[in-house]
């Protein structure tokens, strides 16, 4: 294994160990709650990066899966008194079915039309969650959700482990042959079809994988806050995922984690000082877009590639007719 490859694995490994150790060093339950929230949002952001960063799909309705995961766990365990395992199977089944139906409707349209259709479908579920009071509890939501693990630290450790597993799984996906096809689709969809790949099938597949991971994030979130509420389905949550991925760096996976860390710490720090903390986050977003379009990960990459640049052989000049 080369030095660079070793480093590539050492950093996440150290990060996981540090995350696992923190609750035992810090006695503050606030820190544990904040870290739990960061890890859950990281999972959600990673799922969005699979779409945006690797396949070039900008969905504005991604929160739909997050909310579905949350509501299904809440409804099946609180109202139907199902065991958690059965509820989790239900989340998986529903996320697979809904993501298939949604991808079937949306993958045939591109760009702005795709954005609009996904937003409309996401908002449809949001509105339904506020109107079907008997099932969803309307604006009051569905309270009384039991956490997957009653002990706060235990639940936090579970979330960290799930984050690590999701990261590893997504890393395998994007570095597999299918991952190369996804990157090719992002580069040039039409051309990828010309190579013999059924582009719609690949897009459907990644929307499903991403939807299941987002649903899992929703399950963990509802288990953490113990109530499912309509905002979990709202497009503003999708925009948060977009914000985290762009802030951290698209097409990197760890960019989503960095974005979640920055956003949640900023939110936690600023919301205590001012009620207008969203405004400050907005300004940060604009600065990142203007000056660091590749996000925080892009800055690291640039610094790392500066050294390599001199080794690269020069390309022949482009000749115009």
């Amino acid at each position: 294994m080369s030095k660079n490859n070793k480093l590539k694995w050492i950093i996440p490994l150290v990060a996981v160990v540090v995350l696992l150790v923190i609750p035992f060093i810090s006695a503050s339950s606030y820190v544990t709650s904040l870290l739990t929230s960061i890890c859950i949002y990281s999972i959600f952001a990673i799922s969005y990066d699979l779409l945006l960063g690797y396949t070039g799909i900008a969905s504005f309705g991604h929160a739909l899966y997050f909310g579905l995961g949350a509501y299904i766990l809440a409804y099946t365990t609180v109202r139907l008194h199902w065991p958690v395992v059965l509820a989790l199977v239900m989340v998986l089944v529903v996320c697979v079915i809904i993501s298939f139906v949604i991808s079937f409707i949306t993958v045939r349209v591109k760009n702005l039309y795709f954005n609009m259709v996904t937003m409309a479908l996401g908002q449809l579920f949001y509105v339904m969650s506020t109107k079907y009071y008997k099932i969803t509890g309307g604006d009051d939501g569905l309270p009384g959700v039991k956490p997957l693990i009653a002990n706060k630290t235990g639940f936090y450790i579970l979330v960290v482990i799930i984050l690590a597993v999701v990261f590893l799984f997504c890393h395998r996906v994007v570095n597999s042959p299918a991952g190369s096809v996804l990157k090719a689709i992002k580069n040039n969809e039409e051309r990828t079809g010309l190579l013999g790949y059924n582009v719609l099938k690949y897009k459907t597949l990644i929307i499903q994988i991403s939807g299941i991971i987002a649903g899992l994030a929703g399950v963990l979130y509802v288990s953490s806050v113990r109530i499912a509420y309509p905002t979990m389905l709202h497009s503003s949550l999708t925009l948060q995922a977009l914000f985290m991925v762009v802030l951290g760096g698209t097409g990197t996976l760890y960019g989503g984690v960095i974005g979640a860390v920055i956003m949640k710490i900023e939110e936690s720090a600023l919301s205590g000082i001012t009620t207008r903390w969203m405004l400050i986050l907005g300004i940060v977003f604009i600065v990142v877009i203007l000056f660091f379009p590749s996000g925080t990960a892009g800055i690291f990459k640039k610094l790392a590639s500066r050294k390599k640049k001199t080794e690269q052989p020069p390309a022949l000049p482009e000749t115009k007719p």
């Binding site: 040039n188 039409e190 079809g193 013999g196 582009v199 390309a315 022949l316």
Partner: protein, 234 residues
């Protein structure tokens, strides 16, 4: 069966615009058949229609005896039709190796053999093998685009204006390579560069206003000045 591809009275619309009004074409197995004609005549649309990027509104397309008129692009690729588009369309975020691998996966088995052949044909690809395709110059990008079509054992390769935007020296090299490639497979070439077209082509079709208006052998084209004058304005 002598013909690898036949088009019979093929008509195609792009949106509301009627572009092809009746393309009749027979591409013989082996060698290079060239589509010639003025800009806007429908040559690229003909290739797009064959590969399945545009659906014909009338007519039939027969590939190696099989009706492929309505097949989508990915199925045409699986049937062994490679496409080198005019704008190259390489995947700039992938390395040269990944560009070739992603194309070769449908090939099933003899990747290494084909890769050796491609790298011996285009040594520059070996030099930049692990680099992102975005570092390539125009000529090298064209070589990569052709390499991708060759990495599979395709029975027919459609090549759209490979000389476009390239320096004369690189065009000369490309002509040489195309002549080597046509020993391996069948080429259907669209080319504006008369020199390149005649250096590579064996049989020629002239496309004008969406129709094939004339066809001839290389000998006729080279010797009959009236043909050049009438259809190419040379």
């Amino acid at each position: 069966m002598d013909n690898i591809l036949e088009m019979n009275q093929v008509e195609t619309y792009i949106g509301q615009y009627h572009i092809l009004f009746g393309i009749d074409l027979k591409v013989r197995k082996g060698g290079a058949t060239v589509l010639l004609g003025r800009n806007g005549g429908g040559k690229t649309t003909t290739l797009d229609t064959i590969i399945g990027l545009r659906k014909p509104s009338a007519g039939t397309i027969i590939l190696d005896g099989e009706d492929v008129t309505k097949l989508p692009a990915y199925e045409m690729a699986r049937k062994g039709v490679g496409y080198v588009p005019e704008d190259r369309d390489i995947f700039s975020d992938l390395t040269i190796e990944e560009n070739l691998l992603i194309t070769a996966r449908k090939n099933g088995g003899n990747y290494q053999e084909r890769l050796d052949m491609v790298l011996s044909l285009f040594p520059d690809m070996k030099k930049y093998f692990k680099k992102k395709a975005r570092v390539l110059s125009g000529g090298q990008a064209q070589m990569l685009s052709i390499s991708r079509a060759l990495i599979n054992d395709n029975k027919l390769i459609l090549v759209d204006e490979p000389s476009k935007g390239l320096a004369p020296l690189i065009i000369a090299e490309l002509m040489e390579k195309m002549n080597e490639i046509k020993q391996e497979t069948t080429i259907l070439l669209v080319e504006q560069n008369y020199e390149m077209a005649t250096a590579v082509g064996d049989y020629f079709y002239f496309v004008e206003d969406g129709k094939t208006v004339f066809e001839c052998t290389k000998e006729v084209l080279l010797q009959d000045e009236s043909v050049k004058q009438k259809y190419l304005g040379v």
